[in-house]
């Protein structure tokens, strides 16, 4: 099953490579990994999307916790409700009126925004769960997709439970 692990780590150089190195050294899956500073400048927050059996996920949690730079972590998919979001920018061929209309229509359905328009292309911004972004890609004609870039998932728990110090 897919899990989203959120963690707070010391904002030290090399902290990212410790996490990445752990995943490669132990052969764990890593589907996406995002990291950015937080409101507390000494901390970064990382979101890792991974998958594996329950035993492997348990090991991943423990091994991450064992890293000296990791201050706190939570598997937001494990305990209760959470919100997951990913950002995608997708550049598509839009070189006929027909296509332009169809793409615009699809973007509206998916609550996407067209950020850039040229005579032949659109850049569309889409935000949602990974599966929604996948669905949008499917809805496009594969031959028209020029480029896609996805941020990787981030997430947060619902309600009062928080990942903070």
């Amino acid at each position: 099953m897919q899990h989203i692990i959120s963690l707070l780590m010391e904002n030290e150089s090399g902290a990212l490579s410790r996490v990445a190195g752990l995943f490669s050294a132990r052969g764990y899956n890593i589907e996406s990994l995002t990291v950015a500073p937080t409101e507390d400048e000494t901390l970064s927050r990382m979101t890792i999307v991974t998958s594996g059996s329950n035993e492997i996920i348990e090991q991943i949690n423990k091994q991450l916790n064992k890293l000296i730079d990791v201050v706190k972590l939570v598997d937001i998919t494990a305990n209760g409700d959470h919100i997951e979001r990913e950002l995608m920018l997708i550049k598509v061929k839009a070189d006929t009126n027909e296509k332009r209309e169809e793409i615009k229509r699809q973007a509206d359905i998916f609550h996407g925004q067209i950020l850039d328009v040229t005579d032949t292309t659109y850049v569309i911004e889409l935000i949602g769960e990974g599966s929604k972004l996948d669905a949008f890609i499917k809805a496009m004609d594969a031959a028209d997709i020029l480029e896609t870039v996805r941020s990787g998932a981030t997430g947060i728990t619902r309600g009062e439970t928080c990942l903070r110090l």
Partner: protein, 569 residues
């Protein structure tokens, strides 16, 4: 006090109570070496190769329980140290390794003798640091010692760019007495309800066994292990890393387990109904095929490292905490319950174990005209009164030493169990001897292993460490040859070393005493003569049976009940 970075290093080490630094100089650490020259509180041991420095510091740490300290230069100094760092990492040994680094402004420019030491060592350290400001030097060193020695111990590297130790830049220095790392809180109190569950399982057992590992040694839990085991009267088996935490000559001890463990220990593991693992990590050399491991047992596991729990084998009752503390709690709770072990079941369990033991699985041909390696270790045990520190290398000789030297105390048996590093034995013996100057130190080695860090014979002379080297010279990489005999139809591909040196002359060339022994009847006399030379390193080259094998043996990936045994005529 105002100090420059180089003096901060030496002053800090002194304040931290460091006795020895094992090292080798070079450009990036020359400021620190100059600072060492200016003081005499911290003694520097000049090795002959940086691998030797790490192994010597490691032997010092294993035998004394104090952290080992290493100082090497950047680039090749650091890369040479990596094998020793990885060795310490695999066996959870506390080391603090200071590596010089090129001047900060040159980092990343492929400067002379630059390597990314933090990057190279990352997968084989508990943690590592790059010092970016001299103001952080003392606190970083403190953190390094703290991380290395607390929780599950391990090596920590501190990479120090040359400008950080610039003698011309002075800053205020104060020894940081304590420190806190918000992301690292290693001391865990075991959960009381878990203790109760464990005690209930243990007292309900019909076929219990205690399986104790390196954690009992590292956690200084020998006393508690003895008390608890005797309180229950349960059989105990120890891993290669755990030997001596429980005295081996004791009647409750059923010997080492695992690939070359005793028949009785492995069979008892296979048939037990309750397993208490104490500071052990279910290594594949211990478990064999995990699918067939202790198939009927409720597994209780004491470990300080939560990540060790259910890593290789699913655990029923985890007890996370310091081994010493957890064992004390177990003991207390057993006493308080007033419940007793099931005596009837226990008696018939012991009968079964004694039956297995009667196979005498470690037997070997005692009438051979050739020197049997087992015989040498038995005599070594007798001649040293079972009281020596014994380091070893990797191979058959290591297994013979583990099987035939009966350790009474923890920290006496010093070997590279996790990484299996040939070359470990001699430098580790030097560190052990320096840490235990009044004690007897023997290094049981093989003619292939000893050549991997042979240069340290020179270090041993410089610091007058009167080690006794017991070279079990079978003219083969015996362990490799054994696997080739068993699994490759005796095709001895590259396991025979042609053109061996004359070890006796070699020892003499290094300024030591050399001996060659090639007859069984001379073994005891030679050992007595050697150990009588209290202030000399004696290198005993025992010419042993070339084709002797280590038995019993569980082939890799097999179950505990599928042992190969020796067939004797």
């Amino acid at each position: 006090m105002e100090l420059s970075g180089d003096d901060i290093v030496t002053q800090f080490l002194k304040d931290e109570g460091v006795e020895y630094v094992f090292g080798y100089p070079g450009g990036a650490v020359l400021h620190i070496y100059d600072a060492l020259f200016r003081q005499d509180a911290v003694k520097h041991i000049l090795v002959r190769h940086e691998q030797g420095a790490t192994h010597a510091a490691d032997g010092y740490a294993r035998s004394t329980g104090k952290p080992g300290v290493v100082l090497v230069t950047s680039g090749p100094g650091a890369t040479n140290a990596v094998t020793g760092i990885a060795t310490a990492y695999m066996d959870s040994i506390p080391l603090v390794v200071l590596t010089g680094q090129v001047t900060s402004q040159f980092i990343g420019s492929d400067a002379f003798q630059e390597v990314d030491s933090v990057g190279i060592t990352r997968p084989c350290v508990k943690h590592n640091f790059l010092v970016k400001d001299v103001k952080d030097l003392a606190s970083t060193l403190k953190k390094a010692f703290y991380v290395a020695t607390t929780g599950r111990p391990g090596p920590v590297v501190v990479d120090i760019p040359k400008d950080i130790t610039d003698p011309n830049i002075k800053i205020p220095y104060e020894y940081p007495k304590s420190m806190e790392l918000r992301s690292y809180n290693p001391v865990l109190e075991v959960i009381p309800t878990q203790i109760e569950k464990a005690v209930d399982a243990l007292l309900s057992a019909k076929r219990p066994i205690i399986y104790s590992g390196g954690g009992s040694v590292l956690g200084n839990a020998s006393e508690e292990l003895r008390t608890f085991t005797r309180q229950l009267g349960y059989p105990i088996t120890q891993t290669l890393m755990g030997l001596g935490a429980y005295p081996e000559p004791d009647p409750l001890n059923v010997g080492m387990l695992g690939m070359h463990g005793t028949y009785e220990a492995n069979m008892a593991m296979h048939e037990c109904d309750v397993l208490l693992a104490v500071g052990a990590r279910f290594d594949d050399r211990v478990t064999g095929d995990v699918k067939q491991f202790c198939p009927n047992a409720t597994i209780i596991h004491i470990d300080i490292d939560p990540a060790s729990i259910s890593k290789n084998v699913q655990v029923d009752i985890p007890l996370v905490g310091e081994v010493k503390h957890v064992l004390k709690e177990l003991s207390k709770t057993v006493t308080a319950t007033k419940r007793k072990p099931d005596e009837k079941a226990l008696n018939s369990w012991w009968d079964k174990i004694k039956d297995w033991a009667s196979k005498d699985c470690l037997r070997y041909d005692r009438n051979s005209a050739l020197i049997k390696p087992q015989f040498v270790v038995e005599k070594l045990y007798e001649v040293t009164g079972g009281d020596a520190f014994v380091t070893s290398d990797v191979g058959q000789h290591q297994m013979f030493a583990a099987q035939f030297y009966k350790f009474n105390e923890p920290r006496r048996w010093i070997n590279s169990g996790g990484l299996g590093t040939m070359g470990f034995g001699l430098p580790a013996a030097i560190g052990t001897q320096l840490g235990n100057p009044e004690q007897t130190v023997a290094c049981v080695t093989g003619e292939a292993s000893i050549q991997m860090c042979l240069q340290e014979l020179s270090t041993a002379l410089q610091y007058s460490t009167p080690i006794k080297v017991v070279n079990l010279n079978n003219r083969y990489m015996g362990m490799v040859r054994q696997w080739q005999e068993f699994f490759y139809e005796s095709r001895y591909s590259q396991s025979y070393i042609n053109a061996l040196p004359d070890f006796m002359k070699l020892a003499e060339a290094y300024g030591h005493v050399g001996m060659r022994i090639d007859k069984p009847e001379d073994v005891e006399g030679a050992l007595k003569e050697a150990f009588a030379m209290k202030d000399r390193l004696v290198f005993m080259d025992f010419i042993t049976d070339q084709k002797e094998n280590v038995y019993p043996m569980i082939a890799a990936g097999k179950g505990h009940h599928e042992m190969h045994e020796r067939e004797l005529a």
